[in-house]
Structures are given as C-alpha cells and as structure tokens.
C-alpha cells in the first residue's frame, strides 16, 4: 500500500516534457534536465516524457552513480510501470547505501520480489531489514517473523538433494552382474558393471555402495570413500552407508578423516539406537582419538543396558576414562551440505521442506512435516521418498501401524529401494508373530540390493539351522560390505560356521566310516559263524548234550506254539470283544510267560541261549540267522514278540479296535507259519546226520585187526553169532564215531589181553539184536561181544572202574551216549560170556 501510494504520487508529479538531447555527460545537468522535464509535464507525465526522463537519469547514473540517482531512477521505472528495473534499482541502492536508505514499502517490495524469485536468503535478509525499519518507526509486524521462519525452511529445503527416480532395468541388471562378479572376486569386471549401472542411473545408491565395496576390496580407499560419500549424499539416513564410510575414514591417517569418521559413527548411533554395538565402538574410538569425555559419555550410554558380565569387562576402561575426563566437550564435525539442485516439482519442494523439519527433530517440526508430506504424496504418488519420510516420522513417534502403512505406500511407489524394505522389515520384526512376514520383506530387500538384508537373512537362516545357506549369505555380506556395519560379526560367523562345517564333515566322514564298519561287521556277523548242522558235524560228540535241549525246544516251543497259535489267531480274527480279550489273556500267559505260566517264547529263547553257550564252549560261534532251520524259529519268535503290545491292548481294554486285533492276528499267523517251517523233525534229522553211526560187522573186524596189529598179535576171527549176517545192514546207533571206536578198541584190547594172559588166541563172536524200549518204544540196538575167557568181573564191578581207562572208559562213553552195559550169559556154545552194549538206534525205514 505504501509503495503504491508513493508510486502514485511520483506519477502525479511527472509532467510530460520534450527532451533536450543525450549528448551531455554531466550527471548533474542530465539529472536537472530530467527533473525539469518532469516538473513541466504535471502530475501525470506522458509516457514519452517519462521515457525521456528515465533516459536522462540513466545517463546521469552512468556518469556519476549514486544511491540518490538509483532511487530516482527506480521511482521513474516504477512510474513507467517497469517494476523489474524499479526493483533492481532499489536493490542496487540498498546494496550501495544500506537498507536504512529505503523506506519500509521499498523494503517490502524488495523482500516480496526476492520471495517470488525463490531467492530465499535474500528474501529473509529483506524481511529482516523491513522488520528493523518498522521497529525503528515504532511499528509491529509479527507476520514478518513467521514469514522469515517459512523462508528459512525454504532455504534449507533448497539444500536438500531431490530424490532420484527409480533406476532403469538396465541399471538394475548391471548392478546384479556387478554384485555377482564382486561375490566371485572378479573385482575388475564388478567395477565395470557398477560404473555402467551408475552411468545409466547416476543416483543409484545400491550401485554406489557396491562400488564402495569393490574399491575397498581393491585397496583404493580414496575411491571407496568417494563412492560412499556419493551414496550418503543421496540417502543420508542409510546406516549401512554411514558405518561403512565411518570405518573407511577411521583407517585414514589424518586426524580430519578420523574426526569425520567419529561424527558419522555418532550419526549411525542416532539412526539406529537399537544397535548397541555401535555405541561401544563409538566409545572405544573416541577414547582412541583422545577425547575421554565423549568416550565416557558413549560408554555410559552403552552400559545402561549392559549385563553384569559386560559391566565387569568394561569397568577398568570406564575408570580410566573417568580419570581422564576434564569436562571438555566438543561438537561433532558437521557434514558437508549437499549441493542444491533446481527443484523438480511442487511435490519435491514440499518433501524438501519436510526433510528440513525432520532434520530439526523437535515434535513441533515433525508435526509440521507430516502435512507437507501428505500433500507431496497427493501431488505426486510416485514420489516414494515422501511416504518413506512420513514413515520415519511415525517411527520416531512410535506410531508403528502408520509407519508400516507409509512404507508400504513407498514400496508401491518405488519397489526398487532397498532401504524402504529394510525399514519395513525392522518394523515387522518388532512383532514376533509377524516374523515370517519380516523375513519375506528382508528377502525383497536383499533382492533390491540390501547388504543389511543379507546379514539379517544370514542370522535367521543360521538360527533356523540352515547353516550352509547362512554361510553363503554371510560370505555375500562380507564381500558386498567389506567395511560394513556387520562385517566383523559376519567374518566371525563365517569362521564359526566354517569350523563347524569342518567338524561336521569330519564327524560325517567318521560316522560314515563307522557305519560302513558297523555294516561290514553286521554283514560279517550275519554271514559268518556256523550253522547248527555245521557245528555238529565239527563236534559230533556234542549231539548227546544238544539232544535233550532240542527235545525241550521242540516240545515247549514248536509243539505248544503250534497247538496254541492257529486257533488263537482264528479267534482273534473272528471273535467278539470278550472272546478276543480271553484269547489275548491266554496268549499273554502262554506265549510270554505272564501270570506265572511257562511261556513258549522264554522257553525257546532259553533253549537257544543254552545252545549258543554249548557252541561257545567249543569255540564255535553259532549263527542261527543263516541256519536253514533255526532262522525260521527266530523269525517266528520275532513276529510273536511284536504281537505282544497289541495283545496287551486287547487284554486290557477289552474293546480293541479291528485294526489292533487284525495286526495281532497277522503277526500270530506269521509266527505260526515260521514255526511250521522250523521243523522239529528236521532238527532231529540234523542231530542224527551228525552223530548217528551205521554199524557194520566188516568195519568192526577191520578195527579188531588194527588193534591186534598194534598189540603185535594175530587178529582172531570175529564170528557172527545167531542170525547176524556178515553183510547185514544194521540200524545206525546214536553215538559219535570216535566214541564208538574207543569203546570197541577197549573191548578188543581187553579180549586180546585176556587171550595173551591165557597163552593162546581168544575166540570172539558178535551178536546184534534190534529191540525197542518196552515203555518208551524207542528203537535200540543191542550188540554183544562174546568171548571164551573166564569172567572174573561183574557188571557192578566194571561200572565202578575209574572213568579214565579200560572198562571205566567204556562205561563212561556209554553213559554219555544214553547207552547201557551188561555182562550176559554166553550167546552161543563155545563162548563163556557176552559183553552187551545197548545203544539208542535210529528208526529204520518201514
């Protein structure tokens, strides 16, 4: 209003006059001529007059520039409607002579002009000038302070780099190739691909981070620092970048780099307060840097949540720092500001302003930022950074649901930003129930190029027991972020997992070796050892010990089992609940010996155990599993043992399911079949094959001849007595050949000795009689050796002889083989007595 009134007055005082000419260079004269021209043209000078006056004044300013002439020229310009030049002239006057030269309207005019032209700093300065001018005049203008605050935000916002657009697919492919090459150690190729990605998309943060990793691993730390700084300028809040850069700078020798590193580390702490290890690292580095106060302050913050063990570990460090503290506090170095760029849109402007508010961090500023971001999002839904920033604000305020929603909007707007996924995953991780969802988001973040995601996924897969996958992820993290936040942890994890893998490999190889050995041993055990028949063939004399044992096995197991099993199986299959229950009770008693009964299975196992013991006494390992007879018995026992649980269920519940009854019946049926195949008759035959001996008169004659020859005597004739024919086939007797021969050697020896004592040859006869035991009906063979010697011994006397020689040996061998001995009357004329041997014989074929 003031400016308008001033201008009106000026215009009213400008009469239109003819011009004098432009040749004069005298500023005063020219100025005077202009004034004269205007004075003569009245309050509203004609346009031509005004133009001439402006020319004259311009010429005067060229000759002698002054603030007064500038102001006059400005007035004329405004009067002519040339606001642009008027403003420039006012500004020039103010610059030359200070703002006090200008009136408040002029100052306002300049302020608004700068405001409109987005020259924020100039606008702020002009408003400040106006504010001071009005204050000097005793006037208040509160609106000016508010406007200045807005302009300050605008000015700061201008310094914020605009968000980059999502990278094109070609850039993303180049990044993927580069990362693969990096993981495989092809650093040169990796760099080429990453530089290509950056040429295609200069603001591609993931590519810059990967490039930083390549340069770090190549030993070009300066180039790595540049790459990380570029990344940081594009995404200032990405903690991975901040820490990587901090670590790199810390390695630099100059103190400035270290200071910058420390500031970055503090920034990382502020960004991720949950990562307590950063605080500890910060404390130790500040201590190393020599600033005990800052080190102590960070250490104390770390110790607030430390456990007693950590406190104990750090107690000495803290004490040392406390001693060194002198109370000096330094501010951290500030980061260089990102160069301003031209605004790209209204939405971006709003986002920049919001960024400034967020940077201030106070609750009021955060509240101010949210509507700006909402507006920006509304104006440009593809501006992912707006909802992302809104999410950050919500996170700070603990509004997790809003933060999650904002991040999801950000992902919808730009699905290529790894940091957005990371933020979302961290929010989801807060709720244990959404862990799987969080993992899924971490996977997407990893797909978008997040190193942090690699580390988190590695941790998760390791805790899930997928160590091989975890190792691969840790390695990828180490390769892609050699100076990263978790590099040390990753390296440690890699070493740990590699150690474990080595141990597991050794264990697996050892285990496999042991298994092979065990399998080999089992195969050896299954295929080695002797069968029942082989053992008896080797030691036929064992037959007499084994026979009663086999009789018991046959009777108690095979016969009783057979009697029991078939009918019981049928009743279990077809009976009702009560019948099944009774049958099961009976089977439990009779098969397993429950309720004090004699059990078929314990009896059988006991007999088999004794059989094995006998074999062991002969240093023979009896392998019944490969025995054609006993293997069936073992299978039958195994089947019956497996039926026990089902039978118990049936007996106890009374209402067993069809399934249980059917299983029990099936196993019993299998046991029955196996027992049938383990033929008792076949066991007897095996015993007889090993120990039964055919009795042939010719063989006894040959033995007599050998004994006589050994004694140096002429062998007497062994005469068949009675119906015994020379070539008659007699039933085999159950006695081992060695025992048989020993008995006859002794008998012949005694007879020959008797003849020698008498002084002539002894007459010997042989009589054989088939007979049966009158009570048991078993077949026996009675063989009588007749002689013509005077008998002086009774059977009782013979039986009492020592068992180690002569008659005693004969008696003992007969006793062992279920045989009997007697001294009989002469079986035929010409003999004086008979020595009768009674032995069990095999049944002759009918």
């Amino acid at each position: 209003m003031i400016a308008a009134a001033l201008l009106s007055a000026l215009l009213a005082a400008s009469p239109e006059e003819p011009t004098r000419g432009d040749c004069s260079t005298d500023a005063v004269a020219l100025s005077a001529e202009a004034e004269e021209l205007l004075t003569g043209s009245g309050p509203r000078p004609a346009a031509a007059t005004l133009a001439r006056a402006r020319e004259l004044t311009r010429a005067a300013r060229r000759g002698a520039p002054s603030s007064a002439l500038s102001l006059r020229a400005a007035d004329l310009a405004f009067a002519a409607g040339d606001v642009e030049e008027g403003g420039d002239l006012l500004a020039a006057a103010a610059e030359a002579a200070g703002p006090s030269l200008l009136s408040p309207p002029e100052l306002l005019l300049l302020a608004r002009r700068a405001d409109e032209r987005r020259r924020w700093h100039e606008a702020i300065r002009r408003y400040w000038d106006l504010s001071r001018s009005l204050a000097a005049a005793g006037k208040r203008a509160d609106w000016i302070a508010a406007r200045i605050r807005d302009l300050e935000v605008e000015a700061e916002a201008e310094a914020v780099a605009p968000p980059s657009a999502g990278p094109p697919i070609e850039a993303r492919l180049a990044l993927a190739d580069g990362k693969r090459a990096l993981a495989e150690g092809r650093l040169r190729e990796a760099k080429e691909r990453l530089l290509l990605a950056l040429r295609l998309s200069p603001g591609y943060v993931e590519a810059l981070l990967a490039l930083g990793a390549v340069e770090t691993r190549s030993g070009r730390s300066a180039a790595a620092v540049r790459a990380y700084k570029d990344a940081l300028s594009l995404e200032p809040d990405r903690v991975e970048t901040v820490t990587a850069l901090a670590n790199l700078l810390w390695q630099e020798p100059d103190r400035g780099a270290k200071e910058e590193s420390l500031a970055l580390l503090d920034r990382a702490v502020a960004l991720r307060p949950d990562l307590r290890s950063l605080l500890r690292l910060s404390a130790s580095r500040w201590a190393e840097f020599g600033d005990a106060a800052k080190a102590l302050e960070r250490l104390d913050r770390y110790l607030q949540k430390a456990d007693p063990r950590e406190r104990e570990e750090l107690a000495s460090l803290r004490a040392a720092l406390a001693r060194r503290v002198r109370g000096v506090k330094e501010g951290g170095p500030s980061l260089a500001q990102v160069p301003a760029e031209e605004p790209t849109s209204k939405a971006v402007d709003l986002w920049r302003k919001a960024q400034v508010y967020v940077g201030r961090g106070d609750p009021e500023s955060l509240s101010s930022a949210l509507p700006l971001l909402a507006e920006a999002e509304k104006l440009d839904s593809s501006l992912a950074r707006a909802p992302e920033l809104a999410a950050a604000i919500h996170e700070r305020r603990g509004e997790w649901a809003q933060a999650e929603a904002a991040l999801r909007r950000a992902i919808r707007a730009d699905a290529s930003r790894a940091s957005t996924y990371e933020s979302l995953a961290r929010i989801l991780e807060r709720d244990p129930k959404r862990f799987a969802e969080a993992v899924e988001v971490w996977r997407k973040a990893e797909g978008a190029g997040s190193s942090e995601a690699l580390f988190r996924l590695a941790q998760w897969t390791e805790s899930a027991g997928r160590r091989s996958e975890a190792l691969s992820l840790y390695r990828r993290y180490r390769d892609s972020a050699p100076a990263g936040l978790h590099t040390a942890e990753s390296v440690a994890a890699i070493q740990r997992l590699e150690r474990r893998r080595k141990v597991e490999t050794v264990t697996a190889v050892s285990g496999l070796g042991l298994m092979i050995l065990a399998a080999g041993f089992a195969i050896y055990r299954l295929n080695s050892g002797r069968t029942f028949a082989e053992w008896l063939t080797l030691r036929p004399s064992r037959a007499q010990d084994v026979r009663p044992l086999m009789g018991r096995l046959r009777h108690e197991a095979l016969k009783h089992g057979g009697l029991l099993l078939s009918d019981a199986t049928g009743r279990l299959e077809n009976g009702g609940d009560e019948v099944r229950r009774e049958t099961a009770e009976l089977l439990l008693a009779r098969l397993y010996g429950e309720s004090g009964s004699r059990g078929v299975i314990p009896e059988a196992e006991n007999a088999l155990s004794q059989l094995r013991s006998l074999a062991r006494e002969d240093h023979v390992r009896l392998n019944l599993h490969r025995d054609p007879i006993f293997s069936w018995l073992l299978r039958g026992i195994r089947a019956l043992r497996r039926a026990r649980g089902s039978l118990r269920d049936i007996a106890e519940s009374g209402r067993a399911s069809e399934q249980v009854a059917s299983r029990a019946a099936r196993l019993l049926h299998r046991g029955t079949q196996c027992f049938r195949l383990a033929s008792g008759a076949e066991i007897e035959r095996a015993l007889d094959r090993a120990s039964a001996l055919p009795v042939r008169v010719e063989a006894l004659r040959a033995l007599l001849a050998r004994v006589a020859e050994e004694e140096g005597m002429k062998a007497p004739t062994l005469e068949p007595v009675g119906v015994l024919a020379l070539h008659e086939t007699l039933p085999p007797v159950r006695i081992p050949a060695i025992d048989w021969e020993t008995i006859w050697r002794n008998l012949f020896g005694n007879a020959l000795a008797g003849g020698r004592a008498r002084g002539d040859s002894v007459r010997l006869g042989l009589l054989a009689q088939r007979r049966r035991d009158p009570i048991t009906g078993e077949a026996r063979l009675r063989i009588v050796l007749a002689d013509d010697l005077a008998s002086t011994l009774s059977p009782a006397q013979i039986r009492s002889r020592p068992a180690d020689r002569g008659w005693g040996v004969i008696v003992e061998l007969l006793r062992r083989n279920d045989g009997a001995f007697d001294v009989t009357a002469p079986p035929a004329p010409g003999f004086t007595k008979g020595i009768a041997l009674d032995l069990p014989a095999l049944e002759e074929p009918s």
Partner: protein, 151 residues
Amino acid sequence: MRRKTILVVEDGTEYVETFRRLAMPEAQVDFLPACDVQAARRILSERRVDGVFLDVVFDRIPAGNLCGNLEPLITRFAGDDARAFDYLARNQGFFLAHALAPLIPPGVPVLLAYDFSSEPARLAALKTRLPRLEGVEDGVPISKVLERLLR
C-alpha cells in the same frame, strides 16, 4: 447228548486252559486235569472218560511223583541218578501211557504230546498196549487234537 469227558494229564495247567479256551469252547466237554499218575489213576477208576491226553515232559512235579521204575534207569545210566531222573521226567508221558494202559478202556482214544511222524514203528510198537494211541504232530492246532480225542 451226553457231555464228553477228557482226562488231561500234565504237570501244569496249560493244556487244560488251552483246551477250555481255544478248542471248541462251545463243545459239551469236561476236562479233568491230573498232574501225576496217582491222580490220573484215581480219575480213571472213578469216572468214565471219553479220551485221554498225555503230556510228555513232566519237569515241574517232585521226582517222587514221577511214574516209572527208577532202578533200571539208574543202572542204564551207570548209576547216574540225576540223568535217570531227567530221562524219566523228559519221557514221563510214555511211562504214564504204560502205567495207565490197563485202566484205559480199549475204545478210548489216547493222545500223547509227541510227534511220531518220523518214528511210525515206534508208535506201532506202543499201540500194541494202547491200540488207540496217537501222537500229536508239531504244528497241529489244539482244536484238531480235541476232535481226535472226541472221535
């Protein structure tokens, strides 16, 4: 129809239990258990039986209750008493058949729990005293045994 009676001579209760529970439980049969020769003799003298079942091995009763003359056995086993007793117990069914034969009516079937399938001549020899003596083959179910006893 008259209920049938079967004398079961065994040193436990296993056969009687098995007969009662498994072998045609619906059949009208009484099973009379006897654990030694004296008990069997008493039953045979007091009751009419339709069949006799004899177990073979009696190793759970006192040696004094075993049927059979021990003297010749001790002689046979060269004075080895233990062996003679063991033989007697392991073959007690045969001794029982021998001792009870005079008390068993000729038409009454007698089943001895012994498999004669590989010793037919032995069975034939025993049948001279007990014409209806039969063995029990390994694997034969108890119901078949009862059928043969009731034939």
